[in-house]
Subunit: 333 residues, 2 copies
């Protein structure tokens, strides 16, 4: 077993104050490893980076077509959105059309990550709703599939038809039996796989346009939605949205909790999986940007890239006291 | 150079989802190493874990005595408080007596970490002040020393008499020339040393009662203040306060940003320094509690200890989805 490798450093003055280690795998469309760091066999929970896999049954089952789900809603089904007004409006409209409400979501409540809305809700004395939860789009997708299947309302139960179909899809795209699951922040099961398995899955999505089977067609639709609506996948302050917009070729990016990140590169048929072993988002943001610079998809000089690749560290008074920086060589520059 | 060692794991379901590595050194009163993990020579910025060192000149100079600074204000001078009403009132009263105000602090503004106060300020349309900054007590101490010395108001300048006296004290208690400094979150210089140097410094504080020189007497007074007022050192939701209260013998604990933590054990004359290399507070909280269980100062079964040593990980819906756990063997159990 290979150990994780240094990936991102936190500099303060002349010192490296902190350091983040990680695993990463880049796979091509045939599932071959283009490049890897750390241990490709490390078992991981991809968390929200698996959302496009969790949305496959929604499309493959015919539920998305039956309910008229277009690319924007497919993007929302794959999203960790920030609960900004545009996300809340979109999910509420979707629930309304289904004749469902906030209580039907089983994702728990989360304060909006949109500062203006969060402060407004505090001023108004409003409590966060489930629709504000970053997973409310994914759960809306689960609800539609549940309805389509005529299944019971406890759709996050690992034995529920929705989650059984998610597991089947997960094992097919990762190319391996899942060793099990953890319960995610939103109460849905999150299936485990290897770093290589997750990179293979992302390469499956990236190369889906070269195939015409049902799963590949579903994967194409989901990737198309994410690429068309980067602001619905995350939001105005978050890495997925900014880096998708800054890219020199179309790509889908998806963060996950605990330092996970994946990339889907349809022009190359490549997939990338990344895990910062300590779970830090500041490091997974920087490292995924570094890998995308390395392969020529992002420009290291673009301010929208620097914002995540190599941001300044500022103190309470706004002074720049250091910077976040990928380790030497990671960007390939 | 020894590499950092695994210290804390994040479990989710049957999986270790994330892992934190660290360095730690336990020193006795003679500066000898009792036990060490990782690299004792690793160069670190102790951040707020150095606050009792930064407060030494306040006492040694006679400023504390001249201005009638008692143990509660000495505790505040060593604090990373949460900006709760009791901290804000105490610092404001202190500034008032000095004929100074919020604008004289050079620590920058920080939103209160006390949720009730933070929400109340949002509802009232009030902006965070400098007094809410977790370092406002330390800066009040700097202001008194500045006044006592008749020095200029830019007391965070590394060339200012206050910071020069901090550096002298820092190098004396760590037993080594500092290789330099970074600028801290509150704009004051934060001097670098080794893990061993910082453990030696904490052992100096812990064993100060055995000596009667000016620096040792100042160290005793500061430790006495911290032990007498654990709620002023941090606050009701934070590890320092809870673990000091839960300990089986008097001790002073002080967290620092980026995964730092120190302990001062006067009954043994021991000092502990701890750095989680990725900077995660969840891990430094757990690891310092583990080391204190290991040496018999904390009880691993005490709910106030478990809260930081081995807390559950809960999701948005309040379900327990995993736990934070020190690596096997770290607690010595």
């Amino acid at each position: 077993m290979r150990t994780p490798e240094p990936m991102v450093e936190i500099h303060r003055g002349p010192f490296v104050e902190s350091q983040h280690m990680g695993h990463a795998v880049i796979c091509d469309g045939s599932g071959g490893v283009v490049e890897a760091w750390g241990d490709p066999d490390a078992v991981v929970l991809p968390r929200s980076s698996a959302k496009m896999i969790q949305a496959l049954p929604l499309v493959m089952s015919g539920a998305a077509e039956a309910f008229g789900i277009g690319p924007a809603r497919l993007a929302l089904a794959c999203a960790s959105h920030q609960g900004a007004p545009m996300h809340v409006r979109a999910v509420n409209a979707w629930l309304d059309e289904l004749g469902l409400g906030d209580d039907d979501l089983i994702c728990g409540t989360e304060a909006s990550r949109d500062k203006d809305l969060r402060f407004q809700m505090i001023r108004d004395g409003d409590s966060p709703c489930r629709v504000h939860n970053n997973c409310s789009g994914k759960h809306s997708g689960f609800l539609i599939l549940t309805k389509h299947l005529g299944a019971s309302s406890d759709y996050v139960d690992p034995a529920h038809p929705v989650q059984k179909s998610v597991r089947d899809a997960f094992e097919e795209v990762t190319g391996a039996t899942s060793p099990g699951f953890g319960i995610d922040g939103c109460s849905a099961p999150n299936f485990a796989t290897s770093m290589l398995g997750m990179a293979r899955a992302m390469a499956f999505f990236a190369s889906a346009g070269q195939r015409s089977d049902t799963m590949s067609e579903a994967a194409q639709q989901l990737v198309g939605g994410m690429i068309a609506y980067p602001e619905l996948v995350a939001g105005d302050t978050r890495a997925c949205t900014h880096l998708m917009r800054a890219a020199k070729e179309p790509l889908a990016l998806k963060t996950g909790a605990e330092g996970y990140f994946v990339a889907i590169l349809p022009h190359r048929g490549w997939g990338i999986s990344l895990k910062i072993v300590d779970g830090a988002t500041r490091a997974s943001n920087s490292a995924i940007a570094a890998l995308l610079v390395r392969i020529g998809v992002l420009d290291a000089e673009n301010p929208e890239v620097i914002r995540f690749l190599n941001p300044p560290v500022k103190n309470w008074d706004g002074l720049v006291t250091g910077e976040i920086r990928p380790v030497a060589g990671l960007t390939g520059v």
